[in-house]
Amino acid sequence: MNILSQPWPWYISGPLIGLMVPLLLIMGNKTFGISSSLRHICAACFPSNITFFQYNWRAQSWNLIFAFGIVLGGFVAGYFFANPNLIELSENAVAELNSLGIKNHEGLFPQELFSLHSLFTLKGFIVMVVGGFFVGFGTRYAGGCTSGHSIMGMSNLQLPSLIATICFFVGGLVMTWFILPFILSL
């Protein structure tokens, strides 16, 4: 069972993620994508007169079921197959994180940044609440996320998906290099 508690290298996990594309197509003619589930949640939970959310979300319920499956998979992997060791970051990354003031590298994300206590600090609020808002707003405005555009769209050689993916990276680079260091210093 060692293979389940060890992290999986990119050449195992990457192809497995890629296989989601043909599996969803063959099993049910569905195109891989996660961020649409956020729209379905809006349509299902917040009835409003906004036209964007007036559609039959039940017809797209497979996407919500898939998302719920991810939660269950996360539960099993997180509770039963969790990696007991620190993530093997590159030495440069460890030094970089330390210099940014992120000293605790246990778990999957920095505990000092993502906690209930941190939520009531300016930097914690920006990282979690503003960051989450950007994820939900940006993916829908872009018409997809890393799965819908970067994996599904690019697998189908769609130019808009390549453009979106490049913009995901440009946005991430600008935030990481020019804005995040300032936010973390707050």
Partner: protein, 136 residues
């Protein structure tokens, strides 16, 4: 119609996301600092497998298990791909997560990530409300 298959596929995807560590804020920072090949390897090899799969499906005219012809809608370009893409990029670097990993992290017991997920829902809600006023 059975929708259990989507639950199973999502379940497997959730496990892969955690084991690949692509749900990790640390890994995303490492990626944007170009300090490791890991994330590029994951995304790159996923796309290669996806491209080959779709080529095979199209070439051999493979049908779904229900015998339907497989249809993949083309994506049409909009300015949103650029503006929305940049905004999502900001969020990706801040939270270290895209929507799939948000679900996986919540499942893994990181309940604080519910805050991020809820905020993402509010973001989507806001986009829906402002859609007609935004450039597309």
């Amino acid at each position: 119609m059975s929708k259990t298959k989507y639950l199973i596929l999502g379940f497997l995807f959730g496990i892969i996301l955690i084991k690949a560590e692509v749900v990790s804020w640390f890994r995303i920072q490492e990626m944007f600092h170009f300090q490791s090949f890991h994330m590029y390897g994951v995304i790159g090899s996923a796309v290669v497998v996806g491209i080959i799969s779709i080529l095979i499906i199209k070439k051999f005219n493979i049908k779904t298990i229900d015998g339907e012809p497989i249809q993949i809608e083309s994506k049409s370009f909009s300015k949103g791909n650029i503006i929305g893409g940049l905004i999502f990029g900001f969020g990706w670097a801040l939270t270290g997560a895209c929507p799939g990993p948000l679900y996986a992290l919540v499942g893994s017991g990181a309940l604080i990530v519910l805050v991020v997920l809820f905020s993402a829902v509010v973001g989507t809600l806001t986009y829906g409300a402002l859609k007609d006023k935004l450039p597309h």
